[in-house]
């Protein structure tokens, strides 16, 4: 008897604090959330290996587009299986991928849907830009494989900034968007599921939480997600521009740089060899304007939108940056180049037990390599020729049998020759700044 009363009380309290469980929109939303099972391969330790994972997603169009995280479904996904709210399973394919915002777009197999007559709901977007701290939100997803789990919390901070240089399977993320922070429980498997208001509208895509912390979860704002989704649906990828400036928050440096309050952004450093460096911009410069419109980068939260302003300009466009250096202000014209990830294409030479990755421009810059030629070793298999010769992860292969190596294809071509008639191969590689020679033996 007592127990019943208590439960009843609890029910009343819930009903007054929020209407989610009774809202039609929320019920509909629940029917749009899916579980995603993925099997994908990786070029690890000198061989091609398969691994599988579970995440969440949300259906956002009547033709079966599903929004999820880039770290749930990657470019190497082989099987993508979606479990609908009615527990039916449908296969899906990857439509687009953007690690910079940790978003991926899938599409349900339309033929399969039509043939089996599956039904699903389509979720609707809310306004993430207008959401306030303290507002109640719900996370829906598959934490630890527990399908259709709803957790509840509030918006803890609507504009959290953090960039993670290896956040999505080793790829960079978070530079061009802020995050919604929530205390709704976000656990592994929640990734890709929606964060919604009590009327069931998507304000974010749940993405990550601090492990070991209590209720510090983060979601990509729906305003970002919608924009990226449109690009991915159309082109499969988002092209962004890069000029190579690394911003720093100005905070209270206005006095030092003799600036008016709320103007300018500190350029903390400039990537060597980047368009900005070529144009003559240096660390310590103050960016006042981009193409005539002013910039305010006092606080870290203000930096992603500024970076995004540069990113969304067309590749190859010329940007006029107004720079203050000392007492002088000068305009610099900088031609943008395409933003690429530090992580290049990957492959494997199984006969040598060698996993390799293209050396990208950012990787070459970060590691102060003379150029982006060469191929990076990302794994070797014990007992195989590469490992026996002494090659190890981090080496950059620059030459095989007197043939300079500029790309993965060059390595694969040499491996093919070897495969036809296995013989000793002389390989030149760079470890840090030291050049060494190795002999691979059949």
């Amino acid at each position: 008897m007592t127990r019943l009363v208590l439960m009843l009380t609890a029910g009343v309290l819930l009903a007054t604090s929020s209407q989610a469980e009774t809202s039609r929109g929320f019920k509909k939303l629940l029917d749009a959330v899916v579980r995603i099972d993925v099997r994908e391969f990786a070029y690890e330790a000198g061989s091609k290996r398969f691994q599988s994972g579970v995440g969440s997603g949300v259906i956002v169009s009547h033709d079966g587009l599903i929004l999820t995280n880039a770290h749930v479904v990657g470019l190497r996904a082989v099987d993508i299986n979606v479990t609908l709210a009615n527990l039916e399973r449908v296969s899906a394919e990857l439509v687009g991928w953007d690690h910079w915002t940790d978003l991926a777009l899938l599409r349900l197999d339309q033929d399969e849907i039509a043939k089996k007559g599956h039904k699903f709901a389509v979720a609707r977007f809310g306004d993430s830009d207008g959401i306030a701290p303290g507002e109640t939100v719900y996370a829906v997803g598959t934490p630890h494989g527990l399908t259709r789990t709803v957790t509840r919390g509030i918006i803890s901070n609507p504009r959290r900034f953090f960039a993670d240089s290896r956040g999505v399977k080793g790829y960079e993320t978070g530079q061009f968007n802020t995050w919604l922070q929530t205390d709704a429980a976000i656990n592994p498997g929640n990734s890709g599921g929606p964060l919604v208001t009590s009327d069931g509208r998507i304000v974010g895509i749940n993405s990550r939480g601090y492990s070991g912390a209590d209720n510090l979860g983060f979601a990509i704002p729906s305003s970002t997600a919608r924009r990226v989704m449109a690009g991915l649906a159309q082109d499969g990828a988002i092209q962004r521009s890069y000029i190579g400036i690394v911003p720093g928050a100005l905070r209270d440096l206005e006095d030092f740089y003799d600036l008016e309050l709320n103007t300018g952004m500190l350029i903390n450093s400039v990537d060597p060899g980047s368009p900005a460096a070529e144009a003559g911009i240096r660390g310590g410069d103050i960016l006042l304007k981009i193409n005539g419109s002013s910039v305010d980068g006092r606080f870290p939260e203000q930096l992603p939108p500024i970076k995004n302003r540069i990113a969304v300009s067309p590749v190859g466009a010329s940007l006029t940056l107004s720079i203050k250096r000392g007492d002088n202000s000068t305009d610099f014209d900088v031609a943008t180049e395409e933003l690429v990830s530090r992580v290049g294409d990957e492959s494997v030479v199984e006969i040598w037990g060698l996993s390799i990755r293209e050396v990208s421009r950012p990787f070459a810059r970060e590691n102060q390599l003379p150029d982006d030629d060469g191929v990076l070793v990302i794994g070797v298999q014990r007992g195989f020729p590469a490992a026996v010769a002494g090659l190890s992860t981090g080496d950059v292969i620059t030459k095989i049998n007197d043939t300079p190596i500029a790309s993965i294809e060059d390595v694969l071509a040499q491996a093919e020759i070897y495969e036809k008639s296995p013989d000793k191969v002389l390989l030149e590689a760079r470890r840090k700044f030291r050049v060494s020679l190795y002999v691979l033996k059949p």
Partner: protein
């Protein structure tokens, strides 16, 4: 500068008879007599905030009170100016009795440090050459019984004690090095054969790999090193050259230099592939801008296979070959020529290189401590810029050499080895300019100093808030 055997041979001849005469003496008597060549050297290193006192063993090499110390006896980061209060203790004597000494310098080739005992304290010291073997270059045989001197700590008045063992292995690393079955002498202390002839100097613990078995963590591989006693020793042949190479300046200049960064020995498989037979080669990673090697026409990725027509011996482990070449360079004088045979695209070339004088080293760089900011900055030298992968012909900025913890500089996030390129918005071209800018900033009473700092190839703006 160079060692000449003629210099000590006459003395040697006179001594040989002496050694034979006492060959039958009990080992305790031999040890007692040979203690006159062994001293304990105490010295202090003065840092910005404190001073550390160090003890090391030394060997007397001549009648002028010259004592040699192993290269690791003095920290590489300490400059000669920081080395003060040298005291010389005699093993087993009360520690209230000591002589004073002065730091002379380090020789680039032999790597010994030299200390000179002041004249009033030289009484009773005998050079180790007094106990030289008939053939000073003789190499002890495998299994030969040798004994050496160990010294206790200061609280036991550096009491001497006896150690003995047998020769297990002789290697060129590239210095002639012996390894004994067990501890054979204190580090820096002499080793003798049964006749009492000087054979070598205790160098280091021979890094034996050991497994630790405990109830908590099983089978963890460790390398155990005895810091006081050595099983590895340098042969006497590595000591005698020191006698002719007492530097006349603390840095051991003139220092020959050819300017190659990263010499990687080729492994046996690669040597065989390249047809090097029983010899080996060294791959050049990079040539330093403006260096003699660059001017001599060497290119990155050339494989050096011979020096003055002599192919490199297959020293083991492979890494020793690079040290061997560096030693061969350091043995020479700036201005001298050496001919390198290199393999380039599988073709052999002979390239004569005229050795230059080494650029200023970090040790020689001027430095200054700014108390209020809590930072010591020093002049940027060639190797600093090379290590930071920039053009070493442009020695701009200053290097942070010391950061006082919790000081304004420390709190601002500056770290040792940061490269300060701008101070308060002014580009630092020279060390002198940096001193002026810092002094001006300290005197100005401004609440902060803003620096543009380069670390790991990236620059960032650091704000040092000055205590008001």
């Amino acid at each position: 500068m160079k060692h000449s055997s003629a210099k000590y041979s006459p003395t040697l001849a006179a001594i040989c008879g002496f050694v034979n005469a006492v060959a039958a003496a009990p080992v305790a008597d031999l040890l007692e007599e040979r203690l006159s060549s062994v001293v304990v050297v105490e010295f202090a290193i003065e840092h910005e905030l404190d001073r550390t006192v160090n003890y090391t063993n030394g060997i007397v090499i001549d009648d002028d009170g010259t004592v040699i110390l192993e290269s690791s006896a003095i920290s590489d980061r300490a400059t000669p100016d920081q080395l003060v209060d040298f005291k010389i203790y005699r093993p087993g004597n009360p520690t209230t009795q000591y002589a004073t000494a002065d730091y002379v310098g380090q020789d680039g080739y032999t790597t010994w440090h030299f200390v000179k005992v002041r004249p009033e304290g030289r009484n009773g010291l005998r050079p180790i050459t007094d106990f030289a073997a008939a053939d000073p270059a003789a190499v002890p045989a495998m299994g030969e019984h040798l004994w050496g001197i160990g010294l206790r700590q200061k609280d036991e008045e550096f009491a001497p004690y006896f150690l003995s063992s047998q020769v297990s292995l002789i290697q060129r690393l590239p210095q002639l090095t012996g390894i004994a079955l067990s501890s054979i002498a204190g580090r820096g202390c002499p080793i003798f054969n049964e006749a009492g002839e000087f054979i070598g100097v205790g160098a280091s613990g021979f890094g034996q790999r050991m497994m630790i078995y405990s109830q908590r963590r099983r089978g963890e591989m460790s390398v155990l090193i005895n810091p006081d006693e050595a099983a590895g020793f340098r042969l006497a042949a590595e000591v005698y050259p020191a006698i002719g190479r007492i530097p006349d300046n603390p840095y051991g200049r003139p220092l020959p230099w050819f300017g190659i960064d990263g010499l990687d020995p080729v492994g046996p498989e690669v040597a065989e592939f390249l047809g090097l037979g029983s010899t080996t080669g060294l791959v050049i990673s990079e040539l330093l801008s403006g260096s003699p090697a660059e001017q001599g026409g060497l290119l990155p990725r050339d494989i050096i296979i011979a020096l003055d027509g002599v192919p490199f011996p297959r020293l083991k482990p492979d890494t020793v070959v690079a040290a061997h070449l560096m030693r061969e360079v350091l043995k020479r004088e700036p201005g001298g020529t050496m001919t390198l045979t290199v393999m380039r695209d599988r073709v052999e070339l002979e390239l004569p290189i005229e050795l230059g004088e080494a650029p200023r080293t970090p040790k020689e760089a001027d430095r200054n401590y700014f108390e209020e900011l809590g930072i010591t900055v020093r002049e940027t030298v060639f190797s600093d810029v090379v290590a930071r992968r920039e053009d070493p012909s442009n020695l701009i900025g200053v290097i942070a050499h010391f950061i006082k913890p919790s000081s304004p500089a420390g709190t601002a996030g500056l770290r040792v080895d940061d490269w300060v390129k701008e101070i308060d918005g002014v580009g630092v071209e020279t060390y002198e300019q940096a001193l002026e800018l810092f002094a001006e900033a300290e005197a100005s009473g401004r609440p902060e100093v803003v620096m543009l700092v380069s670390r790991g190839g990236k620059t960032s703006v650091m704000r040092v808030k000055v205590d008001s």
